[in-house]
């Protein structure tokens, strides 16, 4: 009896001490995996400058972020796509703030000899018209398509900007993050993928997009000058006018320190 009741007591006590609050103010940020690394670093610096504030950052994707903000499950959403009329219809109070620009880089394994593709070729690869690297100027070998899951903002943007709304070949491997695509492409010689500019660095090769005999590589300069054809804005979203803490965080990201972080993570600062 003493053993069992002591055990019960211990279990209850343990759960009890978790319940006590420390009174910190909490800011919940969630959404696009593209913006995730920027938001994570911004959160760290923001908390360093604002003691007594907890910022929790979570991925989940753009749609999830907008949904979470609309449902009140997060305070600030991250989105790598435009907020659509549908979203506003569901959550009329949404306020949208552009915080960075991003290009979508088409990436291949470093061992791949292909260094540039036209947008038509990329579209043909992803809709299954081309199945072998030999057909698009490479040295042969089956193309392994790597894409994003169906609720990704990056995929949605890619579908509009590159696929022109068309469908994908069904054999495309689906990854639920930019990092997942980068990792698979870096490990798989025949793979092709698309990721935000910040993920086009290590272990993979970004191919240039060629149009009218000029090749534009996905670089910060090319995205800023809008020469690189596949680029977009990245947003933070709040439900209603941002309150004190929300607006302080958004302000931080738009300020000099935040924009420097944007650049460090491989995205394009707005100013």
């Amino acid at each position: 009896m003493p053993v069992s009741s002591a055990f019960l007591l211990a279990a209850l006590l343990l759960s009890g001490c978790i319940g006590g609050g420390s009174g910190n103010r909490v800011l919940r940020v969630s959404g696009s995996t593209t913006l995730l690394p920027v938001a994570e670093k911004a959160a760290q610096e923001f908390m360093a400058g604002n003691p007594g504030v907890d910022v929790s950052v979570n991925g989940g994707g753009s749609s999830a972020g907008i949904k979470a903000v609309g449902e009140g499950m997060a305070d600030v959403g991250m989105s790598s796509r435009d907020v659509k009329p549908d979203d506003f219809a569901q959550y009329p109070g949404l306020k949208v703030f552009a915080v960075a620009r991003d290009g979508i880089a088409v990436i291949v394994n470093p061992s791949n000899s292909v260094s540039s593709l036209t947008l038509e070729q990329v579209r043909g690869i992803y809709n299954g018209s081309y199945a072998d690297w030999g057909e698009v100027g490479g040295s042969g070998g089956q193309i392994v398509l790597v894409g994003r899951d169906s609720t990704s903002g990056t995929r949605e943007f890619f579908t509009g900007a590159v696929m022109r709304g068309g469908g994908y070949a069904p054999a495309m491997l689906e990854k639920n993050s930019n990092g997942g695509v980068q990792q698979t492409v870096s490990q798989t010689p025949g793979a092709i993928g698309y990721v935000g500019l910040g993920f086009a660095g290590s272990g993979v090769k970004a191919v240039g997009i060629s149009a009218n005999r000029t090749v534009v590589y996905p670089t910060v300069a090319a995205v800023l000058s809008r020469e690189y054809p596949v680029s977009r804005d990245l947003y933070l979203v709040t439900n209603g006018e941002p309150d004190g803490l929300e607006s302080a965080f958004i302000g931080f990201l738009l300020g000099p320190q935040g924009q420097e972080l944007v650049g460090e993570e491989g995205f394009v600062p707005l100013r």
Binding site: S4, S30, G72, R155, E174, N176, S177, G179, F199
Partner: protein
């Protein structure tokens, strides 16, 4: 006067206690009913809109196409193929290992071998996934010269290994419980040991072994994380259907990948809940079949090998094996001639071996095969543990264990993930323990059979079979959204509590039932009330057994990813959670994200996996110690 008042108070207490215990027993049944109802409620639009048939038999899954397509057929096919592939090698390997452990292992080794199997069962799903993603898929790509290793084959290999512990331990139970007299009779008639095993032991244990296989299948069908990490998740039916190198997408993988991001209340959201209902029904049917087989084991054991009917049956089943073998060869023939030829030769050799060779030789070869099976299983365990340790140890530093993550988890430590996991597990147990022990006491001490008790038992059995991802969906839809708890520690603890409840009930009930009846009678004869007897006499000696259940539950709760990834876990956190309504980091989710979303974080992923593995296996080892320690001290 005083005595009468005390008697009255006691009667009231007895009454209240019995009601409370009954309520906790009923909880599981109510929870299962509630989960089913809630899943149905959320999936109603997809069943009412496109219709059940279009949903289940629709040939394309493309939820963001125009128009969106919600056909579950490729996903059902993916689940079926991955599970079948896993069974092709897990069944022979598992049953042979069970025979080895039960009948052939050297004296005194059996507990050690069983511990090996338990460790295999204790490795968290996400750790298998990490291994699969980093090592297995790459190995498949290079060895078979295919464009990518993320495939049906990779999923099947992982699932096979993961369902082995279930198959081995349930088969081993069935084989061990074959009556000794039967074996002795066979041996005394001059049969060799192998002939006895093949002709007497295995046929007698047949229904138990079948149940083991079916339970293993149930485990494989419901598995999420490992499968999702290695199958590529392309929603295609392999073409040709035998192409094991094709990527596939399972029902669980779809839920795992799409649930976190889907727009709440959309048709896509509803379709995902439709998938969860489908998964629930499939697993329910499979597990019910296994339970049916296990409960009717006795009948099968004595009927086997007797009379015309059973002879006809065994003839039929012999032919079934032959037909199945031919079907495998034919299927293999479609993808590769060489493979088909080698399979044919293997079958021919096996046939010769079983019928033509001298029986001493047959026995040697058969025993060799059983031993080799066990070695293979042990090797799988050793390889996985070796990889986790050798890659994880370099990451383990004091800073890693006590620091906060930085640079998306590539740098810094995992302290908040460790703490988060501890909070999740502690909370889940604090909720599940009183409910579970209450239910167990009611079932063991108070229930007198009848319809309500069978409903309660069915509830517990079914709750035990619910795939972990379904708990995750339920927790998300009900706790996070409907009750507005948000993604929070509390939502995760409640979800995990539901998941570990059946384990705690079962082990506690067994422990309580193993207390001899004479103890109860002695206490009652001295005038103690029923509750006094239970509280003072029955529960104290049951504590080690209950503790075993609790720790097993803790191990399971600590290692699971699917139930917490939509309900409680976040990617990063700078401060430790300070309230039940805050989200937390958790070790398994952290490993999953590092492995799949953060390139260049493999070292830290292995480090975190090592910490999780040590944590979980430590708990399992602790239960083994408790069992060893207390079984020696029992002297009734």
């Amino acid at each position: 006067m005083e005595g009468a008042r005390r008697g009255k108070r006691n009667r009231l207490l007895e009454f209240l206690v019995e009601r409370a215990l009954f309520a906790s027993a009923l909880f599981s049944a109510v929870a299962v009913a509630f989960i089913i109802l809630f899943l149905f409620r959320e999936s109603l639009p997809i069943f009412l809109g496109p219709g059940l048939l279009d949903f289940v038999l629709g040939a394309a899954w493309n939820p963001v196409g125009s128009p969106p397509l919600f056909g579950a057929l490729p996903l059902v096919a993916g689940t079926a193929l991955v599970t079948l592939g896993a069974m092709v090698f897990a069944i022979p390997l598992g049953v042979a290992t069970a025979v080895f452990v039960s009948e052939l292992s050297p004296k005194g080794w059996k507990p050690l071998l069983k511990l090996c199997v338990e460790i295999l069962a204790g490795v968290p799903s996400v750790v298998y996934g990490l291994f699969g993603l980093v090592v297995l898929t790459d190995w498949i790509r290079v060895s078979f010269a295919v464009p990518t290793g993320e495939s049906w084959l990779a999923g099947s290999v992982l699932l096979g290994v993961m369902s082995l512990p279930t198959i081995i331990s349930v088969s081993e139970d069935a084989i061990s419980s074959v009556l000794r007299e039967h074996k002795e009779a066979s041996l005394s008639l001059g049969a060799t040991k192998w002939q006895t095993i093949w002709r007497v032991v295995l046929p007698s244990a047949r229904s138990g072994i079948t149940a083991a296989v079916v339970l293993g299948m149930g485990r494989a069908i419901g598995e999420t994380m490992a499968v999702m990490m290695v199958t590529g998740n392309a929603a295609v039916i392999p073409s040709p259907i035998t192409n094991v190198f094709s990527p596939v997408r399972t029902i669980t993988g779809t839920l795992g990948i799409e649930m976190g991001e889907v727009a709440f209340g959309s048709m896509h959201y509803s379709a995902l809940f439709g998938l969860a209902v489908l998964l629930f029904v499939i697993v329910l049917v499979v597990n019910s079949a296994a339970l049916f087989l296990l409960r009717h084991r006795q009948a099968g054991a004595f009927g086997a090998g007797r009379g015309m009917v059973s002879r006809a049956k065994s003839f039929l089943s012999g032919n079934m094996v032959l037909l199945a073998g031919l079907a495998v060869v034919a299927l293999a023939g479609m993808s590769s001639r060489a493979l088909a030829a080698s399979l044919l030769v293997a079958f021919a050799l096996l046939y010769l071996l079983l019928t033509r060779l001298r029986r001493q030789w047959t026995e040697k070869i058969a025993f060799g095969a059983m031993g080799a099976s066990f070695l293979l299983v042990a090797c799988a365990l050793a390889v996985i543990i070796y990889y986790v340790f050798s890659n994880g140890l370099p990451a383990i530093t004091p800073e890693f264990l006590s620091g906060f993550p930085g640079n998306s988890g590539r740098a810094g430590g995992i302290l908040p993930a460790i703490i988060g996991t501890v909070y999740l597990v502690a909370g889940a147990i604090a909720i599940a323990l009183p409910l579970g022990v209450g239910a167990a006491v009611y079932l063991a001490e108070y229930s007198r059979g009848g319809r309500i008790v069978s409903v309660v038992r069915a509830g517990i059995d079914n709750l035990n079979g619910v795939p972990s991802i379904v708990f995750g969906l339920f927790g998300f839809a009900f706790l996070v959204i409907f009750l507005k708890l948000g993604v929070s520690l509390l939502a995760g603890q409640l979800t995990l509590a539901l998941m570990v409840l059946p384990t705690i009930i079962r082990t506690s009930e067994e422990a309580i039932k193993s207390v001899p009846n004479s103890f109860r009678e002695g206490s009652l004869a001295l005038g103690a009330t029923k509750w006094q007897t239970v509280w003072r006499v029955v529960l104290p000696p049951s504590v080690p057994g209950i503790l075993t259940g609790v720790i097993l539950g803790m191990g399971r709760a600590a290692g699971e990813t699917a139930p917490i990834m939509f309900t409680a876990a976040v990617f990063s956190q700078r401060a430790l959670p300070s309230s039940e309504l805050e989200p937390v980091m958790a070790l398994p989710y952290h490993i999953y994200l590092l492995a799949t979303s953060v390139p260049g974080a493999a070292g830290n992923a292995y480090g975190a996996a090592l910490v999780l593995l040590v944590l979980v296996l430590g708990m399992y080892g602790f239960t083994a110690l408790i069992r060893a320690g207390f079984s020696g001290r029992r002297n009734w």
